[in-house]
């Protein structure tokens, strides 16, 4: 559904590249996470893929359309949820969705149903300008689903939302993935990426460092650890041991056989720890 080959982009049209010769493919129905800190090149890549930024170099095919050629009808197949909410403050929530719905040439979803889906039921006739930041973000998210997109660009979809609403948004993304919608998710939140993405790409300084599934990354880069708390001569002792080294495995057996175990937890590396390990940079 998305094919990117040797994409580079410079805002100043010189050799200062925000994105440097990146390539990747996204299959139909896949949720692809594009992860990196601020300024890594995530939004630039999404900008080129959605046509908001002019493609300068390389080859980008989205939903069968060559992005370099101006073909506005491709947006009938694409939905974009922006990180910064963008709604008309002098229109009501329903008027906002109804207006955008009329710009598409394909059947669109009912605006009231979409508002209910994102928890804005009862706010249909309220002016969007009176909404909180989180409500505007949800309205922006709802708008991205209007045209039943085949490809869905999601830029920080849960940023600024309370945990309950964030969980609702994540559920909606999962439901769409189950229905075969291809999603390109841009985020610096590794927990969201871990939960939602089939594959993730780590991007830093405009360069993709790796692309893989979260599970493979954990297997490849994570060290499996076990935290054990046990009593020894009436004292509580705590040890963290690796499951992959022979000496630690023997020590685990010795503790289990000879001591009263209080707590024992297995622990695997998070995507964030792996990102730091791979790129040497934190996700700020």
């Amino acid at each position: 559904m998305i094919s990117v080959k040797n994409l580079s982009h410079s805002y100043s049209n010189d050799d200062k590249l925000a994105v440097k010769n990146i390539s990747f493919e996204i299959e139909k129905g896949e949720t692809f996470g594009f992860l990196g800190p601020s300024g890594a090149g995530k939004s630039t890549t999404q900008g080129v893929l959605t046509g908001l930024l002019k493609q300068q170099d390389g080859e980008v095919i989205v939903a069968g359309y060559d992005v370099k050629k101006v073909q506005n009808e491709r947006f009938n197949k694409i939905g974009v949820s922006f990180e910064q909410s963008n709604v008309y403050s002098k229109l009501t929530a329903k008027e906002n969705l109804d207006y955008y719905a009329k710009l598409f040439d394909v059947p669109t979803r009912d605006s009231v149903e979409l508002l209910r889906l994102v928890g804005l039921d009862g706010k249909e006739n309220d002016m969007a300008g009176e909404f909180s930041k989180g409500m505007k973000h949800r309205l922006t998210f709802a708008r991205s689903m209007l045209n039943n997109p085949e490809i869905w660009f999601l830029d920080e979809p849960t940023t600024g939302l309370d945990p309950a609403i964030a969980a609702t948004i994540k559920d909606i993304i999962k439901e769409h993935a189950a229905e075969g919608v291809t999603s390109f998710l841009t985020t610096h939140n590794m927990y969201i990426a871990d939960e939602l993405c089939d594959r993730v790409a780590f991007i830093i300084d405009g360069v993709i460092k790796l692309i893989d599934t979260p599970k493979n990354l954990k297997l490849q880069y994570g060290q499996k650890l076990i935290d054990i708390e046990y009593t020894d001569n009436g004292k509580i002792v705590k040890e963290t041991l690796k499951t992959v080294t022979e000496a630690d495995r023997r020590r685990i057996g010795e503790i289990v056989n000879n001591h009263d175990i209080q707590t024992m937890h297995s622990k695997e590396a998070t995507l964030e720890e792996i990102f730091i390990q791979v790129t040497g940079r934190e996700l700020v």
Partner: protein, 333 residues
């Protein structure tokens, strides 16, 4: 694309109705037109008003009626009240064997002299047919002052259409909605046309309403609409450029107001410069628009002249457009 142009136009119109500044801009021309009619005495009338008593002779009334607007009153008190009103009226009442002219005192000297001369002509029994002067006419049938004021109002409406666009663009920027439209099948051209339609149509309706209110019913409407549409082009371009360059509504309105300098300069140039210096204003599309409107409003326009003026407006406006196009496209991306 037409569907999207109309949708964008409808949405802009809905938002404009909810924006107090846009609403003021939309209503202001009509209020000014009403103000011109009600508060500028004699705007619709370039003849002298004369008040007479109904006890006067019918010959006197009929004679004066050929040369002035006559109002007849039943008594002296009513007549005095009429003279005391704010517009300029000279009362002529019989006094013994002669007549007495009564004035409020603040009338132009011309009114006083005209009343005196007219009554003197009656007293010596002069008629129009006795004149030895040959008659030649420029064919102007409308008051030049009124035409100038209404033409200035049209120029202001054209400036306001740019201001409406600028306010709308600033609104899009502050709501961050331009990108959201850019990821729909609506093209940038549809977006620009939809917005222009809002500013253009409101301005056109304001021009028509203002002309009807000020009494210009029998002008050539095709000509006035053609000139109005062409002269709006530049204002719309300025509206887009300033809207995209401004961060808030006040800044946008202030920037668009700068267009009043070439507009005022063009009007002053047309009205004040001698014929041999008129060419110095040929660079200004507002000059050509003002000139064309002046001819249409004074009912002396012919199609070749109107088409020449409109053509000049379009050529000059398109030159500005091609100069500004990169900025507009960049701002809308």
């Amino acid at each position: 694309m037409l569907k999207n142009v109309f949708k964008i136009f409808s949405r802009d119109l809905k938002i404009a109705r909810r924006d107090s500044m846009a609403l003021v801009i939309m209503i202001m021309p009509v209020l000014l037109a009403v103000g011109l009619v009600f508060f500028v005495p004699g705007l619709n009338d370039t003849t002298v008003n004369i008040a007479l008593l109904d006890s006067d002779t019918s010959e006197h009334v009929a004679y004066l009626d050929q040369f002035a607007k006559i109002e007849v009153f039943g008594g002296e008190n009513e007549l005095m009240d009429r003279v005391a009103k704010r517009d300029d009226v000279a009362a002529i009442i019989p006094d013994g064997n002669g007549y007495e002219i009564i004035l409020q005192g603040n009338e132009p000297e011309m009114v006083e002299n005209y009343a005196k001369a007219l009554n003197a002509l009656y007293e010596i029994g002069a008629t129009k047919e006795e004149t030895t002067a040959a008659m030649y006419s420029f064919g102007h049938t409308v008051s030049p002052v009124k035409t100038m004021l209404v033409n200035m109002l049209i120029s202001m409406i054209i400036m306001l259409s740019g201001m409406l666009i600028a306010i709308s663009i600033v609104g899009e920027k502050s709501d961050n909605t331009i990108n959201a439209v850019n990821v729909t099948p609506a093209s940038q051209t549809a977006f620009v046309l939809g917005k222009s339609m809002m500013g253009g149509l409101i301005a056109l309706l304001s021009i028509i309403a203002s002309l009807i209110i000020t009494g210009y019913y029998d002008i050539n409407w095709f000509m006035i609409i053609l000139v109005g549409l062409s002269s709006m082009l530049l204002s719309l371009i300025v509206g887009f450029v300033q809207g995209l360059a401004s961060d808030d509504v006040i800044e946008a309105a202030a920037n668009v107001k700068m267009i009043i300098i070439p507009i005022a300069g063009s009007i002053a140039g047309y009205e004040l410069l001698a014929d041999k210096w008129q060419w110095t204003m040929y660079w200004s599309p507002f000059y050509w628009a003002y000139k064309a409107n002046m001819l249409v409003l004074s009912k002396t326009a012919d199609w070749p002249t109107v088409l020449l003026c409109t053509g000049m407006v379009l050529v000059l406006s398109l030159a500005v457009y091609f100069f500004s196009r990169p900025k507009i496209r960049e701002g809308l991306s």
